[in-house]
Subunit: 418 residues, 2 copies
Amino acid sequence: MLLKDKIEKILRDAKEASRVLAGVPTKDKNKALLAMAQALLKKSRYILLRNAKDVSLARKKGLSSAMVDRLKLTDKRIKEMAASLRSVAALKDPVGDVIAQWKRPNQLLIKKVRVPIGVIGIIYESRPDVTSDCAGLCLKSGNACVLRGGSKAINSNLAIHGVITKGLKKFGIPDAAVSAIDVTDRKAVEFLLNAQGLVDLIIPRGGEGLIKKVAEESTIPVIKHYKGVCSLYVDRFADLKEAADIAYNAKVQRPGVCNAIENLLVHKDVANRFLPALARTLEGVGVELRGCQKTRRILKDIKAATEEDWYTEYLDLILAVKVVASADEAVAFINKYGSRHSDAIVTKNKKVAEEFLNQVDSACVYLNASTRFTDGHQFGLGAEIGISTDKIHARGPMALEELTIYKYIVLGSGQIRT
Amino acid sequence: MLLKDKIEKILRDAKEASRVLAGVPTKDKNKALLAMAQALLKKSRYILLRNAKDVSLARKKGLSSAMVDRLKLTDKRIKEMAASLRSVAALKDPVGDVIAQWKRPNQLLIKKVRVPIGVIGIIYESRPDVTSDCAGLCLKSGNACVLRGGSKAINSNLAIHGVITKGLKKFGIPDAAVSAIDVTDRKAVEFLLNAQGLVDLIIPRGGEGLIKKVAEESTIPVIKHYKGVCSLYVDRFADLKEAADIAYNAKVQRPGVCNAIENLLVHKDVANRFLPALARTLEGVGVELRGCQKTRRILKDIKAATEEDWYTEYLDLILAVKVVASADEAVAFINKYGSRHSDAIVTKNKKVAEEFLNQVDSACVYLNASTRFTDGHQFGLGAEIGISTDKIHARGPMALEELTIYKYIVLGSGQIRT
C-alpha cells in the first residue's frame, strides 16, 4: 500500500472510531482507562525490552545523555504512566454537560452541549510516556487520537500503544479510537497535518522547533504549547522577603520547565536593597545572572544581558535581570519579550497589582505567588495535555474540558422562519 | 516605504491599540459605537460617492449583476449598517466576566476571566457593509481589528473606515483599534496571514475559495465560516404536514444562504406518502429536484442526483432528494456529505430523535424545526461575525462572547511550589 493510502486508512478508521467513542458512557471509558493502566504494569517487561532497543540505537547514534534520559523508560516511569491513567479515570467527564440553555420567544429551546472535538493528532518527540498520557486524556474526553511520536522512540511507542489498546473492545471502544502511526517516514506527518475532514485538531508536544514547524505546515487547527519565557516583577511596594522566596522558587526549584522564570524585573526604588542579597543566594546554588546596565551598577560582577537574552527560554540556571522605572515598564517588557505563558508581580499595592494583572497579556498572571503553579495538577484540573500559549480555544493548562467543544441542540415543535 | 514595512507598521499599531482597547470601559465603547453609527448617516453621501466609483469600475470590468449587487450601497443599506452598530452597542459586554473561580488547598485563588483575543484580521470579499459590521463587533468585544476587504470594494471600504474611525479618540480608543489595509496588492494578505505575534486570529468571510486559500496560507489560527451543505431528514415517525412545512421553509424561504437545506432525506416507509405532494409544492415555486434511484421511482420526471450533488451547496432553488432505509443511514449520510453546519430531523419518536441529535456531528442540530434558525439574531445572540464550521474555539453562530478568550488571574500571598 502507498504511504498516503496507509495513513489515510488510519485516519479514516480513527474518524469512524471517534463517532463510536463519542457515545461511550463514562463508566465504560473509566473501566477502559483502568484496564489500560493494568496492562501497562502487566506488560512492563515487554515494554522495557522494546525501549532498550530505542535506547541502544540512540546511544549508537551518539545522542546527548539528556536525550537518552528522556527516551529511557524504567519500572518507576511505567508505574507513573499507569498511575496517570488511573487518575484520569477518576476525573469528571465533561462530555454531555449542558453549558447553557435558553428558550426563544418562538419557543425554540436552544441547548449548548459539551461534546468531544473528534479526532486529535498528537505529534511529539522522544518521550514515550506521552503515548499513554495523551491516549488517556483523549479517551476520557471522548476523542479519538492519532499518535505520532518521534522516530527515535518508535519501538517504545508502538509497544505501549499495542499494550494499552489491546483490551479496548471489551468496553465498546474500537481499537482505532487510540491510533498510532507506525511509520517513521516524515511524509506521514505531512499527510496528518493536511488531512482536512479527517483530523479536527493537532496538538504538537515538544520543543520550539517542532511546534513552529507543525504550525507552519498544518492546514488543520493547531493549539500551540509554546515556550515559556516567564518573568517576575518585583514592585517597589513588594514585601522583599516574599519576593526573594518567590524569585528563588520560580527560578531554582525546577529550572528545566516552561513555567520557571527567565527574566527578573525589579523596580528601581528597591533594586539596591533587593538585588545584592538575592544574587548571593542564587549564585550560591549556581545560578548565572545576566543584567541590564543598571543592574550591573549594583551587581558589578555579572555579565551583560543582550537583547537576545530577554527573549530566551534558558531552561537552565540562568536568569536575566533588569531594573525598571515603573510597573508600566514591566508590563511593556513582558508583553514585548515574554511568550504569553506565565508572569508574576510581587506587590502590596492593590492598584498596581490590578493594572499588572489586567494588562499583562499572558495565559496565567500571578500576584504574590510563584509562576511554577502553571500546571494542570496545581490548578486542580487533575491532568494536562499541555499549556496553551495560543489565544483561541484554550489558554494555560489544557485538561479534559479544553479537549472538548460544544454543539447546539435545538428542540422545536414545527418552527419555521418567517 | 516597502509594502512589508507598511503592513507591519499597521499591524504593530493595531497590536498597541488592542492593549488600550482591552481596558476601555463598556460605556465608552458603547458611546463610540453610537458615534460610528451617527457618522455613517452623516457622511452617507460621501460613502455613496466613493461606492459609485467601485460600482462603475466593476461594471466596466463586466462583473455579474449578482456581484455588482453585493458591492452596491444604497441609503437603505447605510441605514442598516448604522442600525447594526447601534444594536451591538446595546448588547452585553462579555469582557471581564469571571467564568469560574476556585481556591486551591494552598489558598491560591484562581480566577478564569474573559478577555479580548487581541488583534483580529478580517479578510472579506466585495460586500462593503462587512467593514462596519466587523469593526463594531470587534470593538465591542475589546479586539482591535485589521480589515482587508476585496480590491473591488476598496474605495467603499476605505471611505467607511475613514468615517467610522474619525471620532474614536474622543472615547479613549486609538484610531488603530479599527485598522484597514489600504493597498490592494495580494502580497499584503500574505503578510497579514503570517504576522505571528502581531495578529492573534484570522476570520475570513466569503466564498469557499477564499476560506480554503486563507486556511492553507495562514500560520495564524483561522476560524472558518465554511459552506453550508445542510440536510433535513424526514423520519418514518414524522408528522408529515410539519415535515413538509419545514422542508419548504428550509429550502425556499431564502435559498441563497448557508443555513438553507441542499439535501432532503426521507425514510423509505413514508417516501411514497410524503414525496409526491411536496414535489408538486416545491416545483410549483420553481425548485428543481434531483433524486436517488428510489426517489426517481416515486418522482419519475426528476433528474438523477450524482455523487457530486450530495456534496454541493447550491445556494439556489435546487434540492437533492434521497430515500434512506433508517435514521442511522441518514446520520451516516449527513456526517459524510454535510459540512457540519446545520441539520434537522423531523420525528415524533424520542429515541430516534435523541440518537440523531447526538450522532450528527454538526454545529447546530434541530429537532422538528427549520435549519434557517442558525443565525446570531435568531439564536438571541444579537449579532454574528459568522457561523463557524470549525471544531475548536467556537461552533455555529459566532457573536461577542466567541470573540473573547480567557486568562487565569491567580491571587496569592507568597505561595511557592514545594
